[in-house]
Amino acid sequence: MEVIVTADAFDPGEEANAFMARTAGAGAAVTFTGIVRSKAEDPILALELECYVELAESQIAAILAEAARRFSLIDATVIHRHGRLVPGEPIMQVMTAAPHREDAFRGAQFLMDYLKTDAPFWKKEVTASGERWVEAKKEDDAARERWE
């Protein structure tokens, strides 16, 4: 179980390989990568991620422990960046390993749904015409609630 909250860029594939290398006995590994997206009709120059680092680390550790317990994960890792990112850059990555695929998938989905609503990060989009804070989405609350 590993939590990495960092201002540094990471290599998604390299991290996935390192994760799988240390996860012996798993038949299934799922990786989710969140990427800075810029829509053609409404381009952004950058995404600024603010973070309450100490709380992020403890919250993610707690969510990981709960995911491991619920879905019998052999291992799981969350990497989450903060600071200024540009379109195309990976924001965060969740990796899960389990004996069978359904647990690996559900573990990763659970982690994502909780991270969206319960990890102290705030996104601000920087556009040519100014800056705007990303609003929390009702769908994210609903997605999280399905696990209650």
């Binding site: 969140g34 603010e50 309450y52 965060m92 990890a119």
Partner: protein, 83 residues
């Protein structure tokens, strides 16, 4: 007691953190928000949408009913948008 602010709450208040000494009758996160909102005009505006303010007390997520008795640090922030 140290208060930390994040995201648009930090921007609207124009400060990352501050040290405060709330009176004895301020016992919960909700009380603290109401008390801070009275500090000045910027604070009144920043805390206007009270129901949107989330909190952590000494590094644990909390709600408006959570006690702040003996707390060293209370963080206040808008709904999280990570992931």
């Amino acid at each position: 007691m140290k208060i930390l602010y994040f995201a648009w709450l930090r921007e609207r208040l124009n400060r990352n953190e501050e040290d405060v000494a709330p009176p004895a009758e301020v016992t919960t996160v909700g009380d603290l928000i109401d008390w801070l909102a009275e500090s000045d005009e910027a604070a009144t505006l920043a805390f206007e949408k009270r129901h949107l303010i989330r909190a952590a007390v000494d590094g644990r997520l909390a709600n408006h009913q959570t006690s702040i008795a003996g707390a060293a640090t209370v963080a206040l922030f808008p709904p999280m948008t990570g992931g």
